[in-house]
Symmetry: C2
Subunit: 189 residues, 2 copies
DNA sequence: ATTCACCTACCAAACGGTCGGTAGGGAGAT
DNA sequence: ATCTCCCTACCGACCGTTTGGTAGGTGAAT
């Protein structure tokens, strides 16, 4: 039994039921250990949560940076980024749920470290949008607000996404991208 | 002390900290009662949660229906609906947070009743979108998916909205509406 | 006399976390 | 070869506290 096994199990249970609805016993049972034995691998319940948030952010940041560093036209870059983001969100849906829904259960001592990393993540998106503005292709004056609008749609996906549903993550991303880039209205110029 | 006072206080605390992080003692203290006295007004903690979810949905549904029943062009109707929705979400931010983030803490016995009402709510949005499609003004083939995309952005607002921030709820709604209707790309026809 | 709103005291269960103990395995010395 | 020593991984009992919920009683209003 490794620390990673425990964190994986914890991600699944906490992602499904929430941090406060999950007990150390629940986690221990999932890895077939006694509750006390968990503390040989982790130092506290908060420690588990913090680690999961880090893992989730690192996963997203590394994959997003790969897209951001590519030499692509703004429209294509944002399409790729949305695809990559949704792909990771949905294939790691429990871990992602922890990141997006449970970060408020972090105690103040852990919060500051997490928030810094979270800003790193959001600034990747902001920069992608900014590139589009600088290139004269995106018509907005508030990239931060557009980022929030965009991330809202993508993040909310985890609350309704069904892996057995009719749409694949890539298809969902593409449909969202179409709306965001071209709008809902028919262009009658 | 009325049942309503207790529910209001509960909405505030649960909305801020989450259902499982809130104890009946916390709620009792907020209304300056002893914990045991709460049970004169409510039958259980789950009862409180269920009631709050009902309240939130009723609030949103009545206000949204008012907009939906108006005789407006699809574009204007969706702009109005987004405004009204965000206005209520932000002025009742704790109650809204309970609805959007804590419904998964409802035990199965309560869930079915809630889900039915929730579908009522979402169908109002779907119909507004459908009107736009029928009028030939919205270019999409999947109104349900567009609804989810739209609601994602609006719902996610409560996770970052700051009443002292630079943007009012109406401004946020308008900016989002602009993106959704016209897209981010400059129309070079 | 009854009802209402509330209090105090209590319960069993569950919580996160600690602790002493131990089985097993590998390394070093004899 | 065997004995010693330590380390890792785990058990299971236990700690103090908190949890949601119950029961019996009290005092004021009707």
């Amino acid at each position: 039994m490794s620390r990673e096994d425990i964190l994986d199990a914890a991600a699944k249970i906490i992602g499904e039921n929430g941090y406060h609805a999950t007990s150390m016993r629940d986690i221990a049972e999932a890895v077939q250990l006694q509750k006390g034995s968990l503390y040989h691998h982790v130092s506290s319940k908060q420690d588990i949560l913090f680690e999961l948030l880090e893992q989730a952010l690192n996963l997203l940041i590394t994959h997003l940076e790969k897209v951001a560093d590519q030499n692509l036209a703004p429209e294509q870059k944002i399409r790729q980024a949305m695809r990559a983001y949704l792909e990771i969100l949905t294939t790691n849906i429990e871990l992602s749920s922890v990141l997006l829904l449970e970060h408020r259960s972090l105690k103040p001592e852990y919060q500051t470290a997490h928030i810094t990393r979270r800003d790193d993540f959001e600034s990747i998106w902001r920069e992608i949008i900014q590139e589009g503005i600088d290139a004269g292709q995106f018509k907005t004056t508030d990239p931060a607000q557009v980022t929030r609008t965009l991330l809202g749609t993508l993040n909310w996906t985890i609350t309704w996404f069904n892996p057995n549903g009719p749409l694949s993550p890539a298809e969902i991303a593409d449909q969202s991208a179409n709306v965001f880039l071209n709008g809902l209205l028919t262009c009658n110029e």
